[in-house]
């Protein structure tokens, strides 16, 4: 099928969608939902592409749309899914190095706290940048980051099998 997007937008999608997909994935823990979230955010961005004065900031813009859209989805859909089919075999050498472990721990965090953690420690944003991306205060980011980190540490100190929670427990 022949797409009819703005050429610059198409280039942006091609170049940045892998990185954006990973952000969406860390927020959702689900590959399909992450792609859905990415597409939704890209379409929202596309509608305002002509009004994006600073194309260099487009990545940050889409990332923010991803975060806010995901938060909106969680609130409005009241969908709570816990992915448990990616739990690696747990062995005696469990550690933070286990693949999927951090993702599983992220699922334990409230959405806003999870977003703060992803933006601060995966995307490497400053507290101010994270606050801007989430549309909240720096103080809120600080508190969420602090609590999120503490919670992650506690979760990752637990045996792997104890990380998952029953559906709807949150």
């Amino acid at each position: 099928m022949r797409t009819e997007f703005d050429e610059e937008f198409a280039e942006f999608v091609t170049r940045w969608s892998p990185a954006l997909l990973r952000v969406a994935f860390l927020l959702t823990s689900d590959r399909g939902e992450a792609e859905d979230l990415l597409q939704t955010a890209l379409l929202k961005t596309c509608r305002h592409w002509d009004r994006l004065d600073d194309r260099e900031a487009a990545y940050a813009y889409v990332r923010r749309v991803i975060v806010t859209t995901h938060t909106s989805w969680l609130r409005r859909r009241r969908v709570h899914e816990v992915l448990i089919d990616r739990v690696p075999d747990s062995g005696a050498q469990e550690s933070v190095a286990d693949v999927g472990r951090a993702l599983q721990a992220l699922e334990e965090l409230p959405p806003r706290m999870r977003a703060v953690v992803v933006l601060r420690w995966y995307e490497g944003l400053t507290e101010a940048e994270t606050a801007a991306a989430l549309g909240c205060s720096v103080g809120s980011v600080k508190s969420q980051a602090s609590r999120g980190l503490a919670r992650l540490r506690a979760l990752l100190a637990q045996p792997l099998t104890a990380v998952a929670t029953p559906e709807g427990a949150r």
Binding site: E4, T14, R22, V23, A34, R76, L103
Partner: protein
């Protein structure tokens, strides 16, 4: 676990996402096109219902546009052949109320007498192609055996048809249209135009002609939407955005002028502009960091129009937006100047 460990773990797990679909752009194009057609379809339906109720003499011009979507939203896929469509405005009805029926001038003479009151399928086939096209172009299926029976005037020359649309998940929506039997065929008419001209017969007048002009008749303008989906709509002013599911409704207002409610001490985000109504409890302001404005699929809920999903009904009025449970026990009323929660 230190910060470096956490970063490394996050980066490693993020790789589990893999790569986006190689045809991501094509998928976006498809999705964009589907959303655009859905928006156009919903807008056209809303406009059609309002047009039918209000008698806006746009005739075929408005809905004949290929795009049909609002021009203030830049379409994702350009359609160069489509001329800009003027934003539809709801004009007052030409004349008349339900209690004050104008005197008919000269009803159109018809020598051919119809065989009887037509069924929905017959009227569907007689509908203006533009209307039929848009009603056929959404995420629903038009039914011909699930609506109310056609209401016909005693002289057999006028028919008030009901068309049912089944959404993907089984929800049903209804739309109505007026038809006049002329020269052996049923012709779709703009109802309020005919109401204003006083040609709608008295025996169906109360059903066809809205009492206060545009859009005040709940029967005409209530739409029952699919229960499983979330439907997001915006007031005609664009100031109030609501989403409704079968579980409840969330409404948000831009630039309110009312005295903001007290912000909870544990809310570090925004508070005072978004209200949530959910089952069994009074509506309440919520702490939020996002917005419902600008979501794909958002449609305009015209003044006087209502939307019902499960146990919640929302109504749009010039005075603001209101949502309430069907038993009326809980609800919200929201406008720039005031709000009411119960």
């Amino acid at each position: 676990m230190n910060d470096l460990d956490l970063r490394a773990a996050l980066h490693r797990d993020a790789e589990l996402a893999g790569e986006p679909s190689p045809d991501l752009l094509d998928q976006l194009a498809l999705r964009s096109d589907k959303q655009r057609r859905r928006r156009a379809g919903m807008l056209a339906t809303a406009v059609a219902v309002v047009v039918i109720a209000a008698g806006i003499p746009v005739g075929q011009s408005l809905l004949a546009q290929g795009d049909g979507g609002p021009v203030d939203q830049a379409p994702v896929i350009t359609t160069p052949s489509v001329e800009p469509t003027p934003t539809p405005t709801v004009a007052p009805p030409p004349v008349a109320t339900a209690t004050e029926r104008p005197v008919a001038e000269t009803p159109p003479a018809t020598e051919i007498v119809p065989a009887g009151c037509p069924d929905s399928a017959t009227l569907w086939n007689s509908m203006n192609p533009e209307f039929r096209h848009f009603w056929s172009n959404g995420d629903w299926t038009v039914l011909h055996d699930d609506g109310e029976p056609t209401l016909c005037s005693a002289d057999g020359e006028w028919a008030w048809g009901t068309f049912a649309r089944r959404f993907r998940d089984g929800g049903i929506g209804y739309d109505r249209a007026l038809f006049n039997y002329v020269d052996g065929v049923w012709l779709q008419r703009v109802s309020s135009q005919q109401c204003g001209a006083g040609v709608v017969p008295a025996d169906i007048w109360d059903r066809v002609c809205p009492p206060d002009g545009p859009p005040s008749s709940g029967e005409l303008l209530t739409r029952t939407v699919s229960a499983a989906d979330m439907h997001t709509f915006v007031s005609p002013s664009g100031n109030i955005n609501c989403s409704i599911t079968h579980l409840g409704a969330v409404c948000e207002i831009r630039n309110p002028t009312y005295e903001p409610p007290v912000k909870p001490s544990d809310c570090y985000l925004d508070h005072g502009a978004m209200i949530e109504l959910k089952g069994g409890a009074p509506a309440e302001f919520v702490c939020h960091g996002d917005t419902g404005f600008g979501q794909l699929g958002t449609f305009e809920l015209g003044y006087g129009e209502r939307i019902t999903n499960g146990f919640v009904t929302c109504a749009s009025a010039r005075t603001g937006m209101s949502c309430a449970t069907v038993d009326g026990s809980h609800g919200l009323e929201l406008s720039r100047a005031s709000y009411r929660l119960y």
